[in-house]
């Protein structure tokens, strides 16, 4: 029986090569049950390749992956019975209506009285707000409407795992907001694994994030850890007030002289002095930094704290580091 923290997706050295291009390299991931797992990366990083391998649509060149403990190559159909998938650029049969698409999708999972299938489809149409367009052929649908239909068809079987490839990429801000809201609502029923390059969305809904670049995993951590800068160098923000410039200069000398201080940048603004101190030893900084500054009692510390990052900064720093290797 599943425990609340069972891994739903596990990959072990998963790799994919196309002739001379290494699309995915030794990917090791663990996605826990009921998490919203954001799979981040620039275009061409290997996100869609990973998703397609997980769904059995393409085959890995090396390594293996399991979903619900089952091998994605050997038990693909069984896995897909418990999975919902929204493709990056979802394509359906254009001459069918949204309702027909959903009935067709539902019949891959269920059999039984037509009215129950219809009820199940109606529920999905309501979930994504497509009731009034349900009986129009798909060829007249906008990008946003297709995306909503995509979410409905992915959710039609109440999957244990929802895999979404760039679910909000083609949506306007309102549409994006709604998609994220649906994802948050579904969290308690399902595990969501989704790829995106919209960092703001990830920061809002994800609890765990993996960052992929050029086919390689460069970070995987709970979002709170990443935003705390665990993947980056620690930086402390200090705002000081002093009557004399000498006090500031002396304090700067005391701090800069420490072996664990890598860099100290200074800016003056409105009678205040702002420092950004980059440190190599976070523990030493936590213990000593404030004491060193306050050795001079004439200095007033208006703000002291470890800099918190936003995801964009973390992402850019990690990807930048990786690209410069």
């Amino acid at each position: 029986m599943d425990t609340p923290y069972n891994p739903v997706i596990e990959t072990h050295n998963l790799s994919k090569a196309y002739k001379e291009v290494q699309a995915l390299q030794d990917l090791n991931l663990t996605v826990k049950e009921h998490s919203i797992f954001g799979f981040l990366g620039p275009n061409g990083a290997g996100k869609t390749t990973t998703i397609k391998i997980l769904l059995g649509l393409i085959q890995p060149s090396g390594g293996r992956a399991t979903i619900f403990g089952q091998d994605v190559q050997r038990n693909s159909v069984e896995i897909r019975k418990r999975t919902g998938y929204l493709a990056q650029d979802p394509r359906y049969y254009e001459h069918l209506t949204a309702r027909q698409i959903l009935v067709y999708t539902a019949r891959f999972f269920y059999r039984g009285p037509k009215d129950l299938i219809e009820a199940c489809v109606q529920e999905m149409l309501e979930l994504v707000g497509l009731e009034d367009k349900a009986d129009r052929p798909l060829r007249g649908f906008s990008g946003g409407e297709r995306q909503r239909l995509g979410i409905a068809q992915a959710q039609v079987n109440y999957p244990d795992l929802l895999i979404l490839d760039e679910p909000a990429a083609s949506l306007d801000p309102m549409g994006r907001h709604d998609v994220l809201e649906v994802m948050e609502k579904l969290r308690k029923y399902t595990t969501i694994f989704y790829s995106t390059h919209i960092l703001e969305d990830v920061q809002r809904v994800s609890d765990t994030v993996a960052i992929l670049n050029r086919g390689k995993l460069i970070a995987e951590a709970p979002i709170s850890e990443l935003l705390a800068g665990d993947g980056c160098s620690a930086i402390y923000d200090v705002t000081l007030k002093s009557e004399t410039a000498e006090s500031i200069t002396d304090a700067q000398g005391r701090v800069s002289g420490q072996p664990w201080v890598q860099n100290l940048s200074m800016a003056a603004d409105d009678g205040l002095t702002r420092w950004q101190i980059s440190v190599s030893d976070d523990a030493a900084a936590e213990d000593l930094l404030l004491r060193l500054i306050l050795e001079d009692r004439s200095l007033k510390v208006k703000h002291f704290g470890r800099k918190t990052y936003n995801l964009e900064e973390v992402f850019l720093e990690l990807v930048g580091k990786e690209n410069s290797k």
Partner: protein, 290 residues
Amino acid sequence: MTVQTHPHETRDLRLAARQGLLPARGSGWLAGFGNLLGKELGEWFCTRRWLWQLLIWLIIIDGFVALLLFVLPVLASIMPALKPTAEAAFGGLPPEFGSVMMYFTMVGIAGTIGVIILAQDEIIQEKQSGTAAWTLSKPAARQAFILTKLLSNIGGALVFIVALPGLIALGEVFLATHQLVPLAPFLAGAGVVLLALIFYISLVILLGVLFASRGPVLGIAFAVMFGGTILKSFFPQILYVLPLSMDGIALMVMQGIPLPAMFISQVIAAAVLSIVFILVALWRFQHIEL
């Protein structure tokens, strides 16, 4: 987008209602088979496609039979110069057999061209548009995907190219000659031309799996059909292997004429090659990246 919030209780009730639904049948090769087949047959029979197909094949096949039975004799009576043409049109056979020969010939030529054109897009279109990837992200087996394409095309060809025009042709013969064509031998002959169509459908499905664009699919299929027809004059041995005389064989079967070894081999080869094409298509499609 409007996202409606439902209380958990309501959701639980809806989930309970779903308990009236059972998990879909089919596993392994047959996962999703019923649903896929329903959709494919629906494309033939539940859209306007059936009407167009019916009209096209009735006009082409039964139109030629009618030309032979009703128009040519009238023209020959008006223009005596056409009389030898009208007599030769039945190939020296009694009119009821001569008309059925025309039916078999039209199914063999026009029907083959038709099934090649109709089936050429079945796999290619789905691969190119991404609908194959979408369908196969659901619990549907790749084998079921290919088999339902095959079966629906065979079903469409059977109904619209062989059965309904055949029925009408028999009616035309009766109207013109007041002779009933013996049904069982006719059905045996129709089975032979249907086998030729199955051969080409299987070939086109295989080519659709192997290639990424329509050009090679159409090119190779038509090369087999027309190239074979030209080549058989120079290398008659290919008649042991390729279904290039199936209309003639159908007529012989209907007339109860014993088949020479070459024709027996042709019928067996058409059946065996159709199976081989489909087995290769099934195997190859398992490894295709979507």
